[in-house]
């Protein structure tokens, strides 16, 4: 009879494993995000935040000391204005302040009820932390909660600010302007699709630019949220556009990459990168060029006139979902999806040659 019990136990365990496997859809998964200062690159990816020396590509530190694969980092890490601390939120519902020299945490904010997908905004000695629990948390630089703004839905993108207000979009297709000091709603605007990425504000012109999952690029007035102009793109927009002061650059899921005039929304030029997959991350303004990564694992260097300068295919299976980052003369790219022996961070020079690559130590 013992054998029968063992068989039954085995069957139940198999069922448990099978269901757990099926539930993989709910287990944590992410792709990396980047920040830089003069000394290090900071890569939040997988279960760790790494500090990587920009000269050598060697690991300076990593956080936490022992990590859980179920709680990776997805949100972009952000440096405080004095450059001494790195603020980053994780899937473990915690927001961490890390010493950039040591990687040790000097405080944690644990009031949020869900994961951090969006990077924080640090401005005027305040931290604005968007969370998937529908709240925007405003904290002091010491991690003390100042106010909480409840939105209609999860906030996946980093907020932006013009000094007076904080602007952010939600999965509920809404863009909010919230008073930066008090956390009171100034206005709210409904758009045609979820907002997964970060808006961008053109200071002095009172313009706010937002890309939507409905496949539209909007210019809104920061004064009242009214639409100044809108342009349909060929597919959904994941991350937000970037702005060089004159033009807006935005990529979509069909791999179309377009430059629009920020003032009127006129198309300036278009680069069709669709043969090499969807554009998920925002482009980077790196060293006077625009750098774009695609899902098929190709990195493009494009000049401001739309001419493709470099086409750099990465190793097989590598995808570029993360927004590249500028680090002096280097462009940092954080691919994902490669083998465990593949690098998770590449430093490219202006010619697209790899200066160093970082493979996390086991």
């Amino acid at each position: 009879m013992k054998k029968k019990y063992l068989v039954l136990l085995g069957l139940l365990l198999s069922l448990a494993l099978a269901l757990s496997g099926c539930a993989a859809g709910l287990t944590a998964s992410s792709w990396p995000a980047l920040a830089t200062d003069a000394k290090n690159a900071y890569l939040a990816g997988g279960p760790y935040v790494y500090a990587v020396n920009l000269q050598t590509g060697a690991q300076a530190w990593r956080f936490p000391a022992s990590a859980s694969a179920a709680n990776p980092f997805y949100a972009t890490p952000v440096l405080t204005p004095d450059g001494t601390h790195l603020i980053v939120g994780g899937f473990d519902k915690k927001l961490y302040s890390l010493d950039v020299q040591t990687g040790l945490s000097n405080w944690q904010f644990t009031d949020a009820h869900d994961r951090y997908y969006g990077g924080v905004l640090v401005v005027n000695d305040m931290i604005y932390a968007p969370n998937a629990d529908y709240n925007l948390y405003a904290l002091s630089l010491k991690g003390q909660l100042q106010w909480t703004f409840p939105a209609d839905q999860s906030i996946w993108g980093a907020p932006v600010s013009d000094g007076a207000n904080v602007y952010f979009g939600t999965l509920g297709r809404k863009v909010y302007a919230v008073d930066a000091k008090t956390g009171k709603k100034v206005w709210m605007q409904v758009l045609d699709g979820a907002i997964l990425g970060s808006p961008i504000v053109l200071k002095g012109k009172n313009d706010l630019f937002v890309g939507t999952y409905g496949g539209t690029l909007y210019a809104l007035s920061t004064t009242d949220g009214k639409t100044l102009w809108s342009k349909p793109v060929s597919s959904w927009i994941w991350a937000g556009p970037v702005l060089d002061g004159t033009n807006l650059y935005v990529g979509d899921a069909n791999g179309k990459f377009v430059a629009y005039s920020a003032s009127a929304g006129a198309k300036v030029w278009k680069a069709d990168l669709s043969l090499n997959g969807a554009i998920i991350g925002s482009p980077c303004l790196c060293g006077g060029n625009i750098v774009v990564g695609t899902e098929a694992g190709t990195v493009y260097f494009i000049d401001p006139t739309g001419k493709i300068l470099q086409t750099i295919p990465l190793s097989t299976n590598m995808k570029v979902y993360a927004t590249p980052a500028a680090a002096g003369i280097l462009t940092l790219v954080a691919p994902t999806g490669g083998a465990s022996t593949d690098p998770v961070l590449l430093a490219l020079d202006a010619a697209g040659a790899t200066k160093w690559s970082f493979i996390p130590p086991k």
């Binding site: 139940l12 859809g25 998964s29 992410s30 792709w31 997805y74 979820a194």
Partner: protein, 261 residues
Amino acid sequence: MWETIIVTPFTNALLYIYKLIGGNFGVAIILFTILIRLITHPLMASQIKGSTKMQEMQNSKEWQDIQKKYKDDKEKLAQEQMKYYKDIGYNPMSSCLPSIIQIPLIFGLYQSIMRALAASPAQLLILTRTVYSFFHVGDLVPLNSSFLWMNLGQPERVYMFGYAIPVLAVIVAITTYVQSKVTMPASTNPKDQGAMMGKMMAVYMPLLLGYFALTFASGLSVYFITGNLIGIAQYAMLGKVNWRALLPGQKPAPVLATRKK
């Protein structure tokens, strides 16, 4: 292959129902579970019929005599069992084959619920690639995952008096237990291994599914509860529900198999 044949069509059907009923994912899960159970009802009926026949057979004196007579000769025992199957018109595959066919459908249903909930950026990206082109993916996001007091994308808790109470997990465990008890065929044979296994399953399955309900998204719990209630209804429709089994000390009268004339 699994993705193309099962998960993708199931996810799209679930999302289609969701759109059709005006964007309530909880109701969509319930309706889709009912739909799948209706489609697989003939298999379920066949399985119930086969199980009942097997139970009848194991309760019969002739079967028990065969077991006693050939207990030391396994080869002969197997031959006599096969002969007995033939005599009473029982196909040994009739009780397990329908279950085997249903298992991938149940797993597919489960996976499609998880896929559609898309609780993180990486999962949303996968969902985006799963939906058929006739859906405008921008219209589907965000999925309205609120249902009654729950967020279907998160494990459920009700906060009362400072305690987080997993109400849905308790309901999942109770309905699983009730389903196991009322649908368990009666047996008078103390050595009936099927009955013993059934009793063990009535204990372990509620605990296991209750644990899943406690840990995973509450959309899954809605699916478990709906599946349990439909399972009871299916047995009831076939006249195979034994409510007395829920009462302590109650033993239903067994039915006996008869040889074909």
